[in-house]
Amino acid sequence: MSTMSFSFVEDGSALTGAEITNLLRIPEVVINDLEADSIRRGAFQEAHLGSLVRLAGASSPYVVGYQGSHIYSYTIFGAAVSYTPNTSFGANGSADRTTIGDPSSGGGYVGAGGPPMAIAFPTGLALGMQGHQTYQNVLGLLLSLNVEILDFELGNSDTIMTCLQFQTTTSPFWFTIDRSERFTSVKDRRHTSGGQISLDVPTRTLLGPDDLTAKGLAATSPITGVRAMVSIVNGAPGDSVTLRQCCLSAFPLHAKGV
């Protein structure tokens, strides 16, 4: 910040137009070059959050994919889309998992599908506060996923896996955020005999440049999309799981990492 060097007009001095202009110019210069130490602690509160989340979606700074009324029904056709314990952890793409609501991404659907649980950043969103370029001044993406498991028809399998993936402009593949893989047991969790389960599976994670380098990508690779995946652990032909009330949110945050 520019140093505030304020020289008062002494009593008895001539108060000229030049003196008054000078008195006003001093704060003008400073106020146009504010830095962090110009602001009193506690100045910002929740009303300012909208300014701290970068505009990165088509219509809202809070990029949210909410599919409240859709029922996603998903059927495992065979081992090709079945999660295998101890070998599938962190697997990329859709070979052993499929996008919620997207019939074209692995697996197959019975009953109603729905809009894919995916959020696109068409022009790319670089993470890590890489300078002050418009649209890229984002530290990371706070991702929030809630999946409601409504019902299931499973043979020997018991466990549903959900996870988050991202894609960049530098690769056609979708990469799994390994730590976002969540497993949920469903058998014997029905409320009543033959009833549904309505289990919520929550996941929160902060996607940052380290996640790109962990996958062999440049830390500067712009993110073009995130999506939510689902699979059945040790799934078999005939198995199915019904999801509903899924919500995926991505908050691009202008912030400082500490």
Partner: protein
């Protein structure tokens, strides 16, 4: 600019006094020199569309991810449950605060140890900050009538995935998110995820497994 400027406005036909002029301008000096507050900024104009602000203004973030395959028992991290709170392995993080209100999030996976499938209803989890459990983040009832044991699970013919579950936290596999909002004074803060089991009849250790724990702190410090 805040509402009190200028503190002594001039009125029409007033003879200007240099002391009053100095006083009015000194108010500007004082405000710009470290007294700017929420009255000086439009909520929608702070950062969005502007790129001249320092990265640290408004929001500071720290996080600590922890990636462990929940299905790989060879790398499982045990929760040595007691009647009192104990920390989860991999569930700790040090956040350096400049003083401000913070949103603290912990997202992780729990599962029953294969050898203790039926011994662990009554689980509770919470966030702990500087040794103080934040009960606003408490998750789990600790109620054995809620976290009941289903004998039907014994009949399932797939031992590796036998859940032995009730509707509560003691499912074979379950995902958990803990959240709390609190004021953090300036300085280092030790944040941990802690667990306890209120159903234990003694302080004997009973093992469960946690993994994938990620702690995220979003702090509005300015």
């Amino acid at each position: 600019m805040a509402w009190y400027f200028p503190p002594e406005p001039f009125i029409s036909s007033e003879i200007l006094d240099i002391d009053t002029i100095n006083l009015n301008l000194a108010a500007v000096q004082s405000e710009v020199g470290g007294e700017l507050n929420e009255h000086n900024f439009a909520s929608e104009a702070l950062v969005g569309g502007e790129d001249n602000w320092d990265d640290g203004i408004g929001l500071r973030i720290s996080s600590e991810p922890h990636e462990v395959d929940p299905l790989d028992v060879a790398v499982a991290e045990t929760i040595q449950l007691r009647l009192s709170w104990v920390p989860l392995e991999g569930g700790s993080h040090v956040h350096v605060s400049r003083g401000g209100k913070a949103l603290i999030i912990a997202s992780f996976q729990i599962s029953n140890s294969p050898s203790d499938l039926f011994d662990n209803p009554g689980l509770q989890f919470a966030l702990e900050v500087d040794g103080s459990v934040q009960f606003g983040s408490l998750y789990g009832s600790g109620d054995m009538t809620n976290d009941y044991i289903s004998d039907a699970a014994n009949a399932i013919a797939t031992p590796i995935l036998t859940p032995g579950t009730g509707p509560g936290l003691r499912a074979k596999y379950a995902a958990v998110v803990l959240e709390t909002v609190m004021y953090l004074p300036a300085g280092e803060h030790a944040i941990r995820v802690v667990a306890r089991n209120l159903r234990l009849s003694s302080d004997a250790q009973v093992y469960q497994v946690s993994s994938q724990c990620e702690i995220i702190v979003l702090e509005g410090w300015a």
